[in-house]
Amino acid sequence: MLSYIFRRLAQSVLVMAAVSLISFSLFNFVGDPVNNMVGQEATREDRVRIRQDLGLDDPIFTQYVRFMGNALNGDFGLSYRIKRPVSTLIKERLPATLELVFVSAVIALVVGIAAGVYTGIRRNGWLSKTILSTSLVGVSLPTFIIGIALIYLFAVTLRWLPSSGRAGVVELGWWKTSFLTVDGWRSIILPAITLSLFQLTMILRLVRAEMLEVMQADYIKFARARGLSERAINFVHALKNTLVPVITIIGLNIGGLIAFSVITETVFQWPGTGLMFIQAVDFADVPIMAAYLCFVALIFVIVNLIVDLLYVFIDPRIRLGGQ
């Protein structure tokens, strides 16, 4: 068990190293940050001096090693645009994104699994059929269209919810949360639903397919033959077996939520890391972009590590091995 965790950790470190190298080298091609930093009237000498100050003339590999060395100390350098430490910027923006992702992950999981189980058991009910055909909308429409449609309906027409921004924030030390006020909840709900919709559909359909398969299994038939109640069969015997593959996908999807949050945050002007990234791309703000991508990769790696451990926890066949 320990050697398993150790192996997984070693793999994670490798993945992180590879991602950071690739993302860092890519950013050398997105444009020249110096153009954005200096005005029209800057002289050629000024530009050369700035380039030297930033170390942009060194070979890419040297730049990368310098970047990683600093990064390991928690220093991602200064943003070219705002001239503030990137780590501080991320720290400021992070709570917004994490809270958004958390709420939408909860929505996707709770609604997705419940609806998946329901449609798996009541295969031919009218409600199941309605859920399934509606859920197709969730996968086929792009996130920004759904976001705009929700804004139009709930913010513009009905005027129930705010259309953008993050209101009602309470500061708890450096963490700014919107969970403690009504306004905070009102402003997080639309972006969270928008972000969760795609994942929700995926989970729903996956749980349903797994459920249908598990219900055909011999041990379900045997459980029926022992006269166990439908509830015990559906929720103890079937659901637990359904979850093994579902959890793998969920792990990947939570990473996906963070990646998708770039679009949702832009649509709703949500002040999270995704919005910051988009703004950084406009400006070729390499330190922010590199730090952000490393951060996303780190989250992916951590989530998948947790998922692998969960897998071991749920399935005794992995945990204990054959005897």
Partner: protein, 576 residues
Amino acid sequence: MATDQALLEIHNLSVQFPTRRGVVEAARAINLQVQPGEVLGLVGESGAGKSTIGNAIIDLLEHPGRVTEGSILFQGEELRGLDDDAMRKVRGDRIGMIFQDPQTSLNPLLRIGEQLIETIRKSLPVSDKEAHSRAVDLLEAVGIDQAEVRLKSYPHQFSGGMRQRVVIALALAGEPDLIIADEPTTALDVSIQAQILDLIRHLCKTRNLGVIIVTHDIGVIANIADRVAVMYRGEVVETGPVAQIVGAPQHDYTISLIAAVPPADRKLERFNSVDYIDGDNLDHSARRIDVGTHWLGEQSHSKSPDGAAVSVENLKLSFVLERALFKRNRKMLQAVDDVTFSIADGETFGLVGESGSGKSTVARLIVGLYKPQAGRIRVMGQEVELHKQDEQSLLARRALQMIFQDPYSSLNGRLKVLDIVAEPIRFFKMAGSEKQVRSIVKDLLDHVGLGAAAAMRYPHEFSGGQRQRISIARALASRPRILICDEPTSALDVSIQAQILNLLKDLQQELGLTMLFISHDLPVIRQMCDRVAVMRNGAICEIAQTELLFNAPSHEYTRHLLDLMPRMDLLDRHYQ
């Protein structure tokens, strides 16, 4: 309940499956009775409707099956028409069920203690603590040691036989009066089979249970049943005491069914072919080709230089069971342990043993699916190595073909039979033109008894026996000199088995093939093989001439296996 009342009485029961192509009558006008303390054997071949009856009794018919007529009286109460709640109280509490495959009957994610206690508490009004002690008692009753500790184990931590014991304990958990066992030992080795049958019989007698054993295996019936009902195409054709059914069958179907069982006590020239059983729908008009002049027979006279078609020396292979960082912590399984034998040209060499004995692994080593860790393999005098692509190795591989156990997964379902059979011919470029390829394939299909028309169809349109014929045609298509048959008939009904084995025998004679025949079924081995090797834990215990091995086994394990063989001539104990 009056004492003279039958435990279960089925009158005039019919079950139908409405399908798009019309209504299938799975069971028609069935009459059966089971007394307390009696084992009723329900025997028949696949599709006879025997499992349907078991499922109909506890109202678990697969969709869209339904009981259309008749009555099911259990302890004097009509079970037909009970609502879901009432039926749930019958299941488990009064009628227990045991299914075929212990690997899949238990929920893999729940400890067996949880599954047992859940079932006990559902059926009996007992506290959690009492349910726990009952669970321990049940495990002990079905012969599981250290029951207290084993309650905490998960299903995968038990062997197949032990798992079936757990399944039986679960079926007994609600203290039912009737047990329906649907092929309870089909997935188990012969020695485990004997133990499980003994256990079921013991429980039946000590607890005065009624037992219905559903099986296709006459040997099982002969060993355990008191009375037998024989089913054919949805009808019970004959009912009677086991000694009468096995010893003096009355109905034509029963006679031919029993004749098709390969006898364990003597060697026959051919298997009794069963005319009554037409389930395979063979094209009897299919012409057989004259191999003396046909393409297929062109190489049938080639011989190995040293007279040994296949020889293996000191073959070794081990698998890693549990990986670990350091070599000494790894758990290894010695799958093949120093195996040496040689098969002469034209000989049929049997490899027999229980599951896990390594017999299939030996076959896979010879055909090059695994790479041996040590030892030499020679085919037609030519040393073969995995992944070598030179002409000699290709020739050796062409001379060696394999027929697999499972006819369902060994054929590619997306290819037409024509392409499946033609593949080796095309690959080895053994025919001059595509036209010739097609005509050869059609001849081959005719020759294995399928008929040339099969070429344009897909595998799923065929039954298990027919698929095995396709496999044989495919194997013949490279004009092999050696056939490796890995349990070629263990997935088939006994009558189909007889046809396939006869076909293999015929082909061997016509073409002078050498055969490596792998089976766990001793009677089949006796009928097919010239010499036999008995394998256990990866090593060969004994190699002997077949008749010698059966009449005077020298190794203790061989004697043990022979003793466990279900034999119909051992019915005496039921008379007494």
